[in-house]
Amino acid sequence: MTRTPNTESTTTIAMSDSSTSGPKLGEYAREKGEVVLRPHEFDGIQEYDQKLPNWWLFTFYGAVVFTVIYWTVYYHTNLLKTDHQIVQEAISIVEKARQEDLVKALASIDDSKLVSVWAADPSIVAAGQATYSTNCTACHGADLSATMEVAGKKAPLPGLPLNDHQWKYGGKPMDLFKLINAGTPPDSPGHNGAKMQAWGQTLSPKQIAELTAYIIAKVPDDFKAYAAGTTN
């Protein structure tokens, strides 16, 4: 970078080169420590022969040295974990947190609490509704009927209706919670062969409880029996 070629001097060199008797262009410049203009030209294009910039060279060398170090560290020490180790360790932590959340949630809710406390709280029901509309409407319908309006007709959706007072997998509030959390039981053939996914993987136990509360609030008659103070 430091050796800015002096345009004028190179012109002189180029001219002196055209006399055949003069010194070789490159040799001359090299002896003088000047920037070398190569003697040959291609269709009028000439080339200097500047030294490679040091910072450029060190970028290159640096990358080569890094390669040697990285490879050696990865293959000859156990300082860097394999991807499989890293992921499995991290996911086992996630799974543990999920289990703990669930245990905590299960300890804090039961049939009567879901009905009398959760489903009775409008803010909880509203949160449940929000979760419902982003995750559940595609299969169970916005109005819980598992249908949608297409071209003036009620078209069926993949899920079971939630407003028909039929609870195929158990009608207790906690049955709903567990069903949403774990998905369609593995031994069930599913509905038309389709099974609901385990929402516990995507939603937190709190969100699932809110969702349960929302459903309870939409069809309260089915769950009245479990309200606090009633015997069942």
């Binding site: 800015t4 345009t7 190179t10 203009l37 190569r38 269709d43 294009i45 000439q46 080339e47 200097y48 022969d49 500047q50 030294k51 490679l52 910039p53 450029w56 060279l57 970028t59 290159f60 080569v64 890094f66 390669t67 040697v68 490879w71 990865y74 293959y75 000859h76 020490t77 394999t82 991807d83 499989h84 180790q85 992921v87 499995q88 360790e89 991290a90 996911i91 996630v94 799974e95 947190a97 959340d101 995750n135 409407t137 595609a138 299969c139 949608m148 297409v150 071209a151 069926p156 993949p158 053939p189 599913g190 038309n192 062969g193 389709a194 099974k195 516990g200 993987q201 995507t202 937190s204």
Partner: protein
């Protein structure tokens, strides 16, 4: 003594290639703008015709206008038609002048030109028709592949024959890059297009799964390197000093960056598959060679920009210099960003997002597009012996194009980084993820809009260029230059024997040094350290020998430049080493030994038909089938309770072509499939039921509000091509998929039974087609059973199905698998409770 002669250059071919480049450039960029708007508005996939035809057309989409089919058209058009023709124009113009001879054969030049245009037309017809091989930038069907190969060979013969006839003793640096381009593209293209035809329009790649992915990105990455970069660097080396009227900055930089670039580039392909289940040693090579590639790439940028020292005043006045400077600057930017994105930790965020799209467009719009514009503005006045029609229009093109690029690139960076961060964000406590996929998509909507605007600006700018060049051509007369040249005496040129050139000190040191470096990658512990020490010693000895030779090595390289055949052979060796070192071990080792405990369930005939539809519709353009070994990926796409539910190599081992994908505009589909439905013979049900898919393909926004996926109404009307299945299955058997012995009737029966199972489940779910509500019962069942939709659904319900294979022992130490040399580590407690 020397004699002189007058030659006339073939500038007609140059004019033709240039005009073709401009026309195809307009087409390719227009398609680009259209598909950009499709990501913002799903209606752009065909429904918009309803509005502009005032309702004469009815429908939610048109098959040949969907993103999945048009995106390959866009990429192929800009790469092979726009840049391809531009590169040919530059090469034909400069090679003749650098060799002081007319192109060797007018017949070959014509054949090259017309053949190439015919290929482009064939591509423009077949790609929207859904005829594709399903591999990015390698989508064209096999008969076109053969045509491309033939025309490329025609070009190569014409080029090398011209070199042989040259009246210039030495090869100028531009020609080195052209040679590297021709040789390497031939190698890449042929290997990545090896396939077994099943019909005139369909074939299966002979590689599957991991191998296909590795070969694909060896090709894909180096198509960027040797189709979009090296020839354009060659063009820079000729046209930039011409335009600036300055000597090139540094000859020795040319030598060093040329050889390091062509050698290192090839190794970097696996960086397209970082954090996937690609074996770690390949990922390491991909990342490390990408980092080492940074300096060689910048060598080209330096030689370009520093050539302009003392010529910066022209930047204000000369549009050609303006375009060249901006183009080279974008090249520098993109080749800095590339190594950055190749760092595994950065790639974890950026991969599968729009950051990659921003990166390639900095290269495509900035480097290729602007270098093309500079070239055209320089060439046009000379090819038609006139002045450029309008300098100010060219300046306008520059500024509008620059604004377009910046809008585009910044929008894509923002979209990519934002979506990458959102996808990885966990809820407090870390047990669940915060955003659904579609929420991350909706949040980048605004950037998609800005990207379309940027692309549109760029298209407008290029339209101005086309108009300007057209007016320039009209104002002048097409002229073929003549030149008085000294005929070269044939005494020395190209006469140095192969042995004399190749058996030399520099070659000995470099070849041995590289050989021991490669042994260092592959040898077992301790032996590899020895190899590394030998490699370093050879490097040191090489430096000493170079110093002692007193310019001997330079003289050797100078003599190499006077002998194009040894030069070409050395280039071929340099580019072949990287691919061979990565691909051959993978072909030998990874097929059956390395499945990581999971072996893919074979497809049924109907599922195979569905898979071919998945490929034909270009689903891979937006959906990956690869859960990376990253926590957010496993949390989002893995199944509950499994600690190791990232994709395993064995899961896609029989997939021809592999469908790991390179971009997620929609979610990953690797776990979309599921178990056999109780009581069904073949029908499976995965994450979602058949009727969910029914609703989804009719109207993706019904099942996934906020989705930008096109509707696929024709899947319900068109019949799946089941008759081709016996032939396809026979071809699959020949490329190594272990299908059971099935005769034609069994195949068709199986397909029929499964199709009816799915159709029955839909009838039971009381589905109906919105535009034909009267179609019910058996009639609807029969239409569905024969439809493409049912075949595709059969495939979707199968994706990711595998059998557990008894936990394979830690891989045996093997020369061909560096990962097996890692010191064995304690198995983490986590794995034991994995299943």
């Amino acid at each position: 003594m020397s004699t002189t002669t007058t030659i006339t250059y073939d500038d007609t071919s140059v004019r033709r290639f240039m005009s073709a480049s401009i026309i195809w450039g307009l087409v390719g960029m227009l398609v680009g703008v259209i598909i950009a708007t499709q990501l913002s508005w799903w209606q752009m996939n065909g429904k918009f015709i309803e509005a502009i035809s005032f309702g004469a057309f009815k429908g939610d989409g048109i098959s040949f206008l969907t993103f999945g089919r048009l995106r390959p058209l866009h990429t192929n058009a800009v790469i092979f038609a726009f840049v391809g023709n531009m590169v040919f124009a530059g090469i034909y113009y400069s090679t003749q002048r650098l060799c002081k001879v007319r192109m060797a054969s007018d017949f070959l030049s014509n054949l090259h030109f017309w053949g190439w245009q015919l290929i482009i037309v064939a591509a423009a017809i077949t790609l929207p028709a859904g005829l594709t091989r399903g591999k990015e930038y390698a989508e064209l069907i096999w008969p076109i592949n053969i045509a491309v190969t033939v025309i490329w060979v025609v070009f190569a013969i014409n080029f090398f024959w011209t070199l042989a006839k040259r009246n210039e003793p030495s090869l100028y640096v531009a020609l080195w890059f052209y040679i590297a381009t021709i040789v390497t593209v031939a190698m890449l293209y042929i290997v990545n297009h090896l396939s077994l035809p099943t019909s005139l329009t369909h074939s299966y790649p002979i590689f599957g799964g991991l191998q296909d992915g590795l070969v694909q990105w060896w090709y894909g990455h180096n198509a960027v390197a040797f189709f979009l970069t090296t020839p354009v660097l060659g063009i820079m080396y000729y046209f930039l000093p011409k335009a600036a009227n300055k000597p090139v900055y540094s000859y020795r930089l040319s030598i060093v960056h040329f050889w390091s670039l062509v050698f290192i580039y090839i190794w970097a392909g696996p960086h397209h598959l970082l954090n996937t289940d690609l074996p770690r040693w390949l990922q390491n090579l991909g990342m490390l060679f990408s980092l080492m590639l940074w300096a060689p790439s910048w060598g080209g940028m330096l030689n370009g920009l520093l050539t302009l020292r003392g010529a910066w005043a022209q930047l204000r006045t000369d549009p050609v210099i303006k375009f060249f400077v901006a183009g080279i600057t974008f090249y520098g930017m993109a080749t800095f960003e590339g190594p950055l994105l190749s760092i595994r930790a950065v790639n974890a965020l950026s991969h599968y997002t729009d950051w990659t799209i921003g990166h390639v467009h900095a290269g495509a719009l900035g480097w290729n597009g602007f270098m093309a514009a500079g070239l055209f503005y320089w060439l046009a006045p000379r090819l038609w012996k006139t002045k450029l029609w309008s300098q100010s229009l060219a300046n306008m093109h520059f500024w509008i194009g620059l604004v377009g690029i910046l809008l585009y690139v910044v929008a894509m960076w923002s979209a990519g980084i934002m979506q990458g961060l959102m996808l990885g964000e966990a809820n407090p406590g870390g047990a669940t993820l915060k955003y659904k996929f579609v929420e991350t998509l909706e949040s980048i909507h605004i950037f998609y809009f800005l990207r379309s605007v940027g692309g549109f600006f760029y298209l407008i700018g290029f339209g101005l260029c086309a108009f300007n060049i057209w007016k320039t051509a009209r104002s002048g007369v097409a002229t073929n230059d003549t030149a008085e040249v000294v005929v070269l005496e044939r005494t020395r040129k190209d006469r140095a024997g192969l042995g004399e050139t190749l058996i030399s000190d520099p070659i000995a040191h470099i070849v041995l040094g590289i050989a021991f470096t490669i042994l260092w990658f592959f040898l077992p512990p301790h032996a590899d350290k020895a190899a590394l020490i030998v490699a370093i010693a050879l490097g040191y000895k090489g430096v000493m020998a170079f110093r002692k030779s007193g310019g001997g090595w330079s003289r050797w390289h100078d003599s190499l430049l006077e002998n194009y055949i040894p030069f070409t052979i050395l280039v071929f060796i340099a580019v072949a080493v990287g691919g061979a070192s990565q691909i051959i071990p993978s072909l030998v080792v990874n097929r059956d030994k390395n499945i990581e405990g999971r072996l893919q369930e074979l497809y049924t005939p109907l599922e195979l038909a569905g898979r071919d539809l998945y490929v034909a519709e270009g689903c891979y353009n937006c959906h990956s089938q690869m859960i990376r070994t990253l926590v957010p990926d496993v949390m989002r796409y893995g199944r509950a309770g499994k600690l190791d539910d990232y994709s395993h190599l064995g899961e896609s081992i029989y997939d021809h072509p592999y469908q790991w994908g390179s971009k997620r505009t929609g979610p990953d589909l690797a776990r979309e499939g599921g178990e056999l439905v109780t009581g069904a013979k073949y029908m499976r049900s995965g994450k979602r039921g058949n009727d969910w898919h029914f609703n989804h393909f009719l109207n993706p926004r019904q099942t996934s509000p906020g989705s930008n996926m096109p509707a696929y109404p024709w899947l319900f009307e068109d019949k799946a091509d089941l008759k081709a299945l016996p032939g396809k299955i026979a071809a699959q058997v020949r490329i190594g998929v272990p299908w059971p012995a099935l005769n034609q009737h069994e195949i068709l029966d199986m397909a029929q039974v499964q199709a009816l199972e799915i159709a029955d489940s839909l009838i039971a779910a009381k589905v109906y087609l919105p535009d034909k509500p009267e179609l019910q019962g058996l009639a609807l069942r029969d239409q569905l059973a024969a439809s493409k939709f049912v075949a595709l659904t059969a495939y979707l319900q199968k994706i990711g199905a595998y059998r557990e294979i008894t936990k394979d022992q830690p891989a045996e130490p093997s020369m061909l698998n560096p990962d097996s040399h890692r010191r064995p580590e304690k198995v983490p407690a986590a794995t034991t409770q994995a299943h």
